[in-house]
Symmetry: D2
Subunit: 108 residues, 4 copies
């Protein structure tokens, strides 16, 4: 794998792990009512990032298009997560932003 | 799930199953040398269609963008598969075309 | 694909779709507090069933072991879902039980 | 996520990436005929490791059972890959062995 692809795949997998962890943690928060959107976006973002990581390794011709969606979903998830003070949300927002940045370069 | 979403999700999962089956069968063909591109596209198409099926059920806002990529990958896979006379390739091409058509409606 | 494998793969994908739909619907229920466990199991069950569907098509040697876990997760998800009267939970419980039954035969 | 879970999830995702890369590279090898089994195992191992990574973050009750299958599939993939001198096979075998070891601890 090219170094650039590998770095981006790592960002994708780290983002997926942060999203899954955030989703699980949100499900255990006392005030789950305000975490609905966060959980929903976490699940989508994790699934999409895992696929992007896979397409990175497969050197798919369709990688740039997929990365463009990844940028959008990661940004949406980061925006939602950054509204909450829970450490898992703050950590997830950070990983999502890093992944969005890495995917933006691959989408170009 | 809306009926339209459900029908498209079914087309996605049937396409994924046909692609995985085609990939495995290609790996067992005597003349594997000419099946390289087919296997590669099968693996990508299966993974993408499974994710599209998931996003369908999640009623993701990003579904139309994802469906547009799905249309492209399904068409590419159908085109490659239709070059080969193996029944699994012909069947896969058929499922890919059906999935591309269903996803095209969701992308609109 | 063998007919038996194909029937089981279909049960897996239908179960995955029902679980994803149930997860999303639970996230929109007014009384989300009592749906925590249901959402958690839905997400796990959907992911596992999608993988089982894939392994079915790949005719993996490790399919029986995977199907045994699938039986356990589907049963756990069905049990949790059947506690709730929401139509999406009832439907999900039904699909989970059908999938558990199909996987039990493949695990043998 | 617990540190131990996190370390294992990382091993899983690194293994998945190495397997996908190996599969793609095998598909481009001149002597593809002898890489059939390697490609087949790579695809299975990548999919299973990605799911294990997801279950790790979800702290699933069914993680130990899943990790046991992961150990088996990783070992099988490592054994096949170690038969070939291609750098991608050697690298994949290494990642598979590291993942098998990490999963073995989680399975206990």
């Amino acid at each position: 794998m090219h170094t650039e692809h590998q770095r981006c795949a790592e960002a994708c997998y780290q983002c997926a792990a942060a999203c899954e962890h955030c989703a699980l943690s949100c499900l255990q928060e006392e005030n789950i009512d305000m975490m609905r959107e966060c959980i929903k976006l976490d699940v989508q973002c994790a699934a999409l990032c895992r696929l992007a990581g896979q397409f990175m390794a497969l050197e798919s011709k369709h990688l740039p298009s997929l990365c463009r969606i990844c940028v959008d979903v990661c940004k949406a998830c980061a925006e939602e997560c950054s509204k909450h003070q829970h450490p898992h949300c703050q950590q997830c927002a950070k990983r999502c932003r890093a992944c969005a940045e890495a995917c933006l370069q691959m989408a170009a």
